[in-house]
Subunit: 332 residues, 2 copies
């Protein structure tokens, strides 16, 4: 169907879901994963041992490798789905020329080492022009892709044709897509929503109810709008699925590991013990620090009461109950 070759980098649940989507349309999909065990298991059992293990793959459709350079050399379109905290060390292994390739971010955070979005990082460090940089945004829980429940994706790229091409190979009877030119805004939204999901989890853990959650989400989308506008001013409807929809699916869903992580904090776990309880990385933890730092750099700081509250709890050792009591007066 497509003359272009696609590859996914990463083997978590979202990476696995994207490989599944691509397999609906392509004869072959490149798939890089760090873990030798995961690769061996896939070869033997046709499914990812750790994530979305109900999804069966056809091995003849997969080009699997533990060598990031092999897959980077193979593909024209490189889709990165590695947790933001590990991206930097993975990219350090890259030594093939990727300057002519299209880079797609399905990463849910910004690189903690540089404070850059994945696209910005590739632009600055690999000289990829912005027209060759895309973003895959939800709202989309990987778990529901596994179940083939109808889901909508937003594909962003300043090159409209590239966005449409990518949208096309992701579409199927359970995936609908739309395109957008707001690469920076959608990537920030993907990151910010995880912070708000942590906040929703903390609120729930502290015993706040549905009435409060809805006020929290209503304030969160307004805060997200202010944050993104400050970072990249352009015309966007913050209520589109890629922003509001993604916030809601993460903030309200029981699948969300960020919400789960926040819930444990609200219930009194320390950050460390909550992280140890969970085998998955809660992206919102890193995102909180990154978003807070980015705002610190602003000459005139954006008003971010929710992000600041989560930061106080996760990084400044403050008591969740007290912080939220103060926060309730800043919401409306």
């Amino acid at each position: 169907m497509s003359a272009l070759k696609y590859a996914v980098f990463g083997s978590g649940s979202w990476a696995t879901a994207i490989v599944k989507m691509l397999c609906e349309n392509l004869d072959e999909v490149g798939w890089y994963m760090r873990s030798i065990y995961t690769k061996e298991h896939l070869l033997k059992e046709q499914h990812n041992p750790s994530y979305l293990s109900s999804v069966e793959f056809h091995l003849d459709q997969l080009k699997l490798s533990n060598d990031i350079n092999e897959i980077a050399a193979y593909a024209d379109v490189l889709i990165f789905v590695i947790p933001s905290a590990f991206i930097h060390s993975e990219l350090e292994k890259l030594n093939v020329d990727i300057s002519n390739k299209t880079i797609v971010s399905a990463v849910k955070g910004i690189l903690p080492e540089t404070g850059l979005l994945l696209g910005e990082h590739f632009h600055e460090n690999f000289q990829i022009p912005y027209d060759n940089i895309g973003v895959i945004a939800g709202p989309c829980h990987a778990e529901e892709v596994a179940l083939e429940r109808l889901s909508y994706l937003t594909i962003s790229c300043s090159d409209k044709k590239k966005a449409q091409q990518l949208a096309k190979v992701l579409e199927s009877h359970y995936i609908k897509t739309k395109t957008s030119d707001d690469v920076i805004g959608t990537e920030y939204a993907v990151m910010l929503k995880n912070i708000y999901a942590v906040a929703a989890g903390i609120a729930h853990g502290l015993g706040y109810g549905d009435n409060f959650q809805s006020v929290l989400m209503s304030n969160a989308i307004r805060e997200m709008k202010r944050f993104i506008k400050k970072m990249h001013k352009m015309k966007r409807n913050i209520n589109n699925s890629a922003y509001l929809g993604d916030l809601l699916v993460t903030g309200y869903s029981t699948f969300s590991r960020n919400r789960m992580f926040g819930n444990m904090i609200g219930k009194g776990y320390t950050v460390k013990s909550a992280q140890m309880e969970m085998s998955m990385v809660a992206e919102g933890y890193y995102a909180t620090k990154s978003a807070f730092k980015l705002n610190e750099k602003n000459k005139k700081k954006t008003r971010l009461p929710i992000i600041n509250a989560v930061h106080e709890i996760l990084y400044e050792g403050k008591d969740a109950k007290k912080v939220f009591l103060k926060l309730t007066d800043k919401l409306d």
Copy 2:
């Protein structure tokens, strides 16, 4: 605390919650209820027999009556919390002069007989000036008020001072308030959200998952914005709690009877049998007809794919599964 006398008309869960809020601040609250049984039960057991029965009242704070005129004569501020379908017949009993009183709507729909909001109805039929008309909007499930879980209300009145006065008597350690001058917009929001909650319920009943729900809600708030803008154009932030927050608490909460009603429809119940199963009135059922009719009157119709879909299912006898399959192509 207040020289003004307040009264609540209605005895459902939201009416009971508002009486509870007022009792936190006032020495006496007027309370009209149609049912003699409910009044007798309250006098004997200090709680509403049918709704929020965990809430204990102090009888010396309540002026109870089954005579709407007695309570209307007593109070300066009349808060109506009667299901929209019964409002008209209740108001026909009114024969005392209320032209100098403040009328507050906590009704969750428009009067099916006239297609008017409660405020509009009082303005047209009782010559109440718009400055004396207010609205109490959520997001607020009555059930959480009973539990004294932190909730936020928006009080709208074009007379700012009146809005502040009313806000003040509703506030307590578990109720925060804000005021607004968008009487018409907030009242439409209260009504429309119930339709979207029915839609959310139908989707759930049909087997759509969280990913789809978030897309549905993201489209719903954009549709709500278009609808309200057409009805009453003014500057408003549709993401404020009274609009988006209220939509979310109703669309996502398990307390919502509209969602429950929709869920039964999605699962294959007929409208009639779903209504019979539920002892409460699902306001969204009536709201769907009213909103659809209002839009029919527009010379240039507003694009309302969700409301139209729910109308097709509830009033045009169309198959929910087929209607939603078509709807999924209209959302993004």
